[in-house]
Subunit: 383 residues, 2 copies
């Protein structure tokens, strides 16, 4: 007997029939003798509709009321799934975020979970009742509804698994696992049986939208055994585990890419302490998210080139801000290019193996692709 | 300065533009120096959609989960209205049923309000903040979401007005007041400036769907000054008041009708004590709502005819139940007729004036309409 948290995303609960299918999947785990807590997202499209309502009332909204509105989608799904389970003869009840409660801080719209009271729900699980919990929701210290940010239901599921000390947290989604790269682009992409938390984190933050980054962090911190699998097939998915659980480590576990990048280069910035802060401070204040930053050693000891990337949507604003603050740091020229892509090679095996970066550079050269900037983390190389 | 509870129904908050219009109406009351609590329904169509979801998951549903699902519509509207008010520069916040809380019993799906904690909300009203409260919702003694039954937002508004000791409770709807009869049928129907609680109760329970019956009962009990008015015009509506506030009492305040009636007659039922209980007991158990019951004095002292009415939807089931229990009370023949209508004349003035019923009978006779059964209450005559 195991205690399992099962999480179903928006497409998995997209209509009544799919909710009934989810109920059948839950039933088969119950029939196998497991204790089950289910975390559900809003039916697909519902959250977008609710966000549209909010932004059409007012573009500058109070995030506390935003949370009241958008959290309702998950409430509906959780009630419906509890009903579908009861219809199959399974004892089940829904638990709203404020009922458990799932305590969060008061950063409305992107709150962080600070604790989950699990006593009552564990009692019910022990009595054989399935708990259905709306993802995405929490309760602030002021007794108001919070939400965890888009994709936050993954984090709800992992945090609940940690609080319940669950044996596993299964994330059901519309893909059947984590792939080495995007299978829609590369036919040779293959599904990974296992991936480490560290690799998954790099993948998640690079736009491989399988899991919310925050959920992977929480799983890693609390040692929650995560599985990504498909709602629509019975195939095993990808297990996200600690590094020591992977016996034969692949050198490279994945290749991620992003087309939504734009590059800005400041030519001949004066090379002295504090310049980077003068450049990036105003950008941070304006909430422009700077991704890669590359600065090379100075040729003459007086000036250097500074290159950084932002999302395409932020490019114009970033240029404007840099130009407005030009007098603070000075430069000879400003160059920008929106026609770039970022490719990342990820793998904890790289730590102990040389030559990975070289093979990547060669592969790009063979295709006649010019590399603009290079940066690395311990287990990642970005071009 | 007055404390006013304003309630807006589903069509009044049917889309974002209408919600913004509601905000403007609230603002004008705030600008006039009043303290305002607003009660809102779900956007029109939303509750029906949610009920459809529930019944398509399972026809025999757990009303506790039904309440979780259907209460979400009001949550969305209250958040959106709070945002729309803030957008007009008005301080506002939403209060969920569980946040105030609005305490109810645990009769899920048709709960009764048992109390409202008004301390915190009064503090906020005094500080100039508008309170936006979703109608229809409550919290059971077990900390679960309850709903008050269809049309329950009227009752939420009146109960809140009573708890806040409000000067007035304005029910904004898609009609501009209470009419003497249905203006879509009778061109001469006229809007009433005032109506007594008692008359409103008779009107409400007769299918004049202006106010939920329960809300009128609560208003009468707590002496809440109710006004029914249009969301779409600035005309004054109809004030529902105590009898002593109406100086010149009209003899008749209204004529209500229902086409959704079917008549059943049991011919020659044995005329002895306990027979009525034997007939109507099984119907009540099966939740068949019997409206009028007429039994005449017995001709021969041995048998009598018993006539009663049910809604058309219940006719077949009622006939089946009566036939199944025939051996308990016996009858010679059973007759039924779905082609009947009920017309009611209502007015507290009737208490002290004779001849009203006679004039009604004459009017029907003039049109060649045959009267099937007649019953009366203190202030009402039904044909």
């Amino acid at each position: 007997m195991a205690l399992i948290v099962m999480k179903f995303g928006g497409t998995s609960v997209g209509d009544i029939e799919r909710i009934q299918n989810v109920a059948k999947r839950v039933k088969s785990e119950v029939d196998a003798g497991n204790q089950i807590a289910v975390v559900v997202s809003a039916m697909s499209g519902v959250t977008n509709q609710l966000v549209d309502y909010v932004t059409s009332v007012t573009p500058l909204y109070d995030t506390r009321e935003y949370d009241v509105v958008v959290s309702s989608g998950e409430q509906v799904t959780s009630g419906l799934l509890a009903l579908a389970l009861q219809d199959l003869g399974i004892m089940a009840r829904s638990w709203m975020g404020w009922q458990l409660p799932i305590q969060t801080d008061d950063a409305h719209g992107k709150a962080r979970i600070t604790g989950i009271d699990s006593e009552e729900i564990l009692k019910r699980l022990n009595s054989g009742e399935v708990a259905v919990v709306p993802g995405f929701q929490g309760l602030s210290p002021n007794n108001r509804i919070t939400t965890l940010g888009r994709g936050g239901s993954d984090t709800s599921a992992v945090a609940l698994a940690a609080a319940l000390n669950a044996d596993r947290c299964d994330i059901y989604t519309d893909v059947d696992g984590v792939y080495t790269t995007d299978p829609r682009i590369v036919a040779k992409a293959k599904k990974l049986d296992r991936i480490t938390f560290e690799e998954m984190l790099e993948m998640a933050s690079l736009g491989a939208k399988v899991l919310q980054t925050r959920s992977v962090e929480v799983a890693m911190k609390h040692g929650v055994r995560l599985q990504v699998r498909s709602s629509f097939s019975d195939e095993p998915g990808t297990l996200v585990v600690n590094e020591d659980e992977i016996v034969e480590q692949e050198l490279i576990s994945g290749i991620a890419y992003s087309r939504d990048e734009a590059k800005i280069t400041l030519v001949a910035v004066s090379d002295q302490p504090g310049v980077a802060a003068l450049i990036f401070g105003p950008l941070a204040e304006a909430a422009v998210n700077v991704d890669m930053i590359v600065q090379n050693v100075s040729d003459d000891g007086k000036s250097t080139d500074m290159t950084f990337t932002v999302t395409m949507g932020d490019l114009d604003r970033a240029l404007e801000i840099v130009k407005a603050h030009a007098k603070d740091f000075g430069y000879k020229e400003i160059l920008s290019d929106a026609d770039v892509a970022k490719i990342s090679v990820i793998g904890v095996g790289m730590r102990s193996h040389a030559g990975v970066a070289q093979r990547m550079f060669q592969a790009l050269a063979d295709k006649g692709i010019n590399i603009q900037v290079i940066s690395t983390s311990e287990i990642k190389v970005n071009d």
